[in-house]
């Protein structure tokens, strides 16, 4: 029998960036919040032995324990979805800080084009530019409306960067200056400028200098220690909810943080939520936590899964295109890179940071003319320097055997002499790409797993072909000895594709027929439920998602405070 706890004003499921930001804003405003997190609490002292490639990267120390839950996947509806049994792609966060503890920290804003993609595409290219099976739609918010929330997030996290002309207008410059430039970044800058492009240093959550934020949190500068992506930062230099918003929420005395607690259902009467049901993952004890407001911030996958398992909202139906929960799942496209090898140049590639690199704005969004192209949106083309850890980085020229004497020779020869000119392209929603519940497989608590039905589309394959020619052109200018371009996008492979930017499933919009939440991330069908995270994105841009999901979380926090005061739908 579950223990029924006393009712609280707000319960938040998940303590990553989305949950952490909302917890901090509400508790600062004097609202009592219960924060429920399935994983453990974390501090920087956990990372003293943090520079351990095997433990953190290859044995995924900080990520969701797949023995308890995973996703199932299939490329299309005619296949049977099977569970992702061990990690291939999408390494999902777990514990206080969520994926915000082991992320890279590349922190962008989306473009004005993104928020009004349907309207702007039709205005410029006519109503038939995009085929009807691509379910693009406007977000129900404009860039100008979201700008103040981006500003707030950037000041809290201390984002380091430089203003880029081709992007949306900023009310303020970045709070800290850009990261340092390494020789490969300088070379990228030189050759792309020569080609007429406008390279800039990637905006970063790895602080370029000591910074004190408006909440009074002071953090030191990044040491370019090279154990960033997949790792926690022992210095607290990387913005992580566990060293920024969560300590602030804790300090107010208004946050009741419950770790090792897994929410299995949102309790509701069909119209409104009444609380959440959770299990203590250590003792197995079950609890019912009644609440006036339920915030679901458990990452894209569990946001969708919790709503479906709780019978909240209308499930998406790919046959009819109706319903919204599970709709417009998007990924990101990373084909089209050109890898270059130097025979007699060595760089200090062993060092670096998660968000260290340079990128071009020229081929992002609608910053170039698509009149004669059979795709919309674009890609960020970049050179990055994360620090080449030796188990993961053994790039050898094509034709080299994958083991034996020749492999050893080549992998050692090029250990410090190869890097790619990379592509990260936008992902447009498609009628057949969606999330629902798996009919067969269950998690450790007996709840159905989330099923993903996804493959790259024609739009993705076209974007990759186009971007491949550009990375090739740039790579040529580097004057490398060997150049290899990945020209075509292969089918989606849950074991291989290495991008962790999942979006959609609980999308925002202006219309309750075609979206699940409004621009405050408030559910149309249950006004006291707010669903925060990249699940709200109607499509995925070519940028990393966290800047945007965090900005939306600030807006959601504002909405929740308004809701507590006045009730009802906020839009």
């Amino acid at each position: 029998m579950a223990t029924k706890l006393p009712k609280v004003p707000v319960v938040i499921v998940g303590m990553g960036w989305a949950g952490g930001i909302i917890a901090s804003e509400l508790t600062k405003a004097g609202v009592k919040v219960v924060g429920i997190e399935r994983g453990k609490d974390r501090t920087t002292s956990d990372y003293l032995m943090g520079h351990d490639e095997l433990r953190y990267q290859h044995r995924t120390e900080l990520m969701q324990d797949l023995s308890k839950e995973t996703i199932t996947s299939r490329n299309n509806r005619s296949m049977t979805a099977l569970p992702m049994r061990s990690y291939g792609t999408f390494i999902v966060g777990d514990g206080v800080g969520g994926a915000g503890s082991h992320w890279n920290g590349q922190t962008y804003r989306f473009l004005p084009y993104d928020f009004e993609i349907k309207t702007l595409t039709e205005q410029k290219y006519g109503p038939n530019k995009v085929k009807p099976e691509y379910t693009i739609q406007d977000w129900g918010i404009t860039y100008d409306e979201i700008e103040p929330y981006y500003d707030k997030f950037e000041k809290m996290a201390g984002i380091s960067g430089e203003t880029v002309e081709l992007y949306g207008k900023r009310s303020n410059p970045y709070p800290t200056g850009p990261m340092v430039k390494t020789p490969i970044m300088k070379e990228f800058e030189k050759v792309t400028k020569k080609l007429g492009f406008s390279p800039y240093v990637i905006p970063s959550s790895n602080l370029s200098e000591t910074y004190k934020n408006p909440d009074g949190i002071q953090r030191g500068a990044c040491q370019y220690c090279a154990y960033c992506e997949n790792f926690g930062c022992e210095y607290g230099a990387k913005a992580d909810p566990a060293v920024t918003v969560i300590p602030v929420a804790k300090n107010t005395g208004n946050l009741d943080l419950r770790t090792h607690s897994n929410v299995t259902r949102i309790l509701n009467d069909g119209k409104k939520a009444t609380g959440v049901f959770y299990v203590n993952t250590i003792t197995g004890e079950e609890f019912e936590q009644p609440a006036d407001v339920v915030v679901v911030a458990s990452y894209v996958f569990n946001n969708v899964r919790l709503l479906l398992n709780s019978g909240l909202g209308k499930p998406y139906n790919p046959e009819t295109g109706t319903g919204a929960i599970g709709k417009n799942y998007c990924y990101q496209v990373t084909g089209g890179a050109t890898t270059i090898f130097f025979n007699d140049k060595e760089f200090n590639l062993y060092g670096g940071a998660g968000a260290l690199g340079m990128e071009l704005p020229d081929f992002t969004g609608d910053n170039f003319d698509h009149s004669n192209l059979n795709f919309i949106h674009g890609a960020g083309i970049r050179v990055t320097q994360y620090g080449n850890r030796p188990i993961a980085n053994n790039t050898v020229p094509k034709g080299t055997p994958s083991w034996g004497a020749e492999f050893k020779k080549q992998s050692i020869k090029y250990a410090n002499s190869t890097f790619p000119v990379k592509v990260q392209a936008a992902s447009m929603p498609h009628r057949e790409n969606y999330l629902d519940l798996d009919p067969t497989y269950k998690d450790a608590y007996g709840m159905p797993l989330l099923r993903m039905t996804y493959d790259y589309t024609e739009q993705d394959r076209e974007i990759v072909k186009y971007m491949a020619q550009i990375t090739k052109k740039i790579a040529k200018e580097f004057g490398a000895d060997i150049m290899e371009t990945n020209e075509e996008q292969a089918p989606f492979n849950v074991n291989k594709d290495g991008n962790t930017h999942n979006t959609g499933g609980v999308i925002m919009g202006a219309d309750s027929e075609t979206s699940a939440v409004n621009s405050y991330l408030q559910m149309w069908d249950a006004e006291n439920v707010f669903v925060a995270g990249a699940s709200a994105f109607p499509h995925n841009s070519n940028y990393n998602p966290t800047g945007t999901l965090s900005a939306l979380s600030y807006r959601a926090a504002e909405g929740i405070i308004k809701y507590i005061q006045q009730g009802g739908l906020l839009v």
Partner: protein
Amino acid sequence: MSENEKNQQGVQDKTRRIFIKNSGLTVGGLIVGGAVGSLFGIKSDTKTEPATAMVHESAANPNEALMYFNQEQYQTTAAAAERIFPKDESGPGAKDLNVAIYIDHQLASPWGVNAKDYMVGPFQKPDEKQGGQLRILRKDLFLLGLKGLNDYSNKTFKKKFTELEAKDQDAILTDFESGKAGDLSGVSTNVFFKMLRTLTIEGAYADPMYGGNKDMQGWKMRKYPGSYMGYTKEIQSDKFVALKQQSLHDHMGH
């Protein structure tokens, strides 16, 4: 301590001082970072002993013992891993790096029993894009693979794998890689081969505390410094900066 090591230590002390100066992870004056907190407590003269002092006693390394394999399984693993990552002019191969010790320890770890994998049935045959769907545990698959190597060697060359010449061992491994060597209780030899290859690379380059990468020689070969506090200066240099290897052991004093 050699002059070189002294210089090295001077540089480290300096880096640490700069780091402490730059880092002030505080909430309203409260230090929130354990790493930073303990650094503040360190006096510059209580520095960690460099790990190099131990290197010469490696013959007595208590870590070189078996948790899982029997002697023959150990020998077969060592021989196969050596073919994946052989000794050459650039430096030691898997054998000298203790890769088979690493593999033994990994198979005895929670990873060997798939502790963090989703192991609930039904187990169905996957499409190639759906990832592995094996019921068998890693530790069991590996032993099947070792037995398979010997069976296939006996069948092909009438000898055990460890008794073959290098080029014949390569021929056996090539057939395992392509799957031509058949199945191991229903699992393609290719699956075992991939696991062997991955474990070999891990054993060459993982931190030496896991049993492989002996004396950090895997890192030395590719001029990988191992584990430092930071590289702010090095990454900005136009010239390649070769640093002396350090492992996690060097951070034990923090």
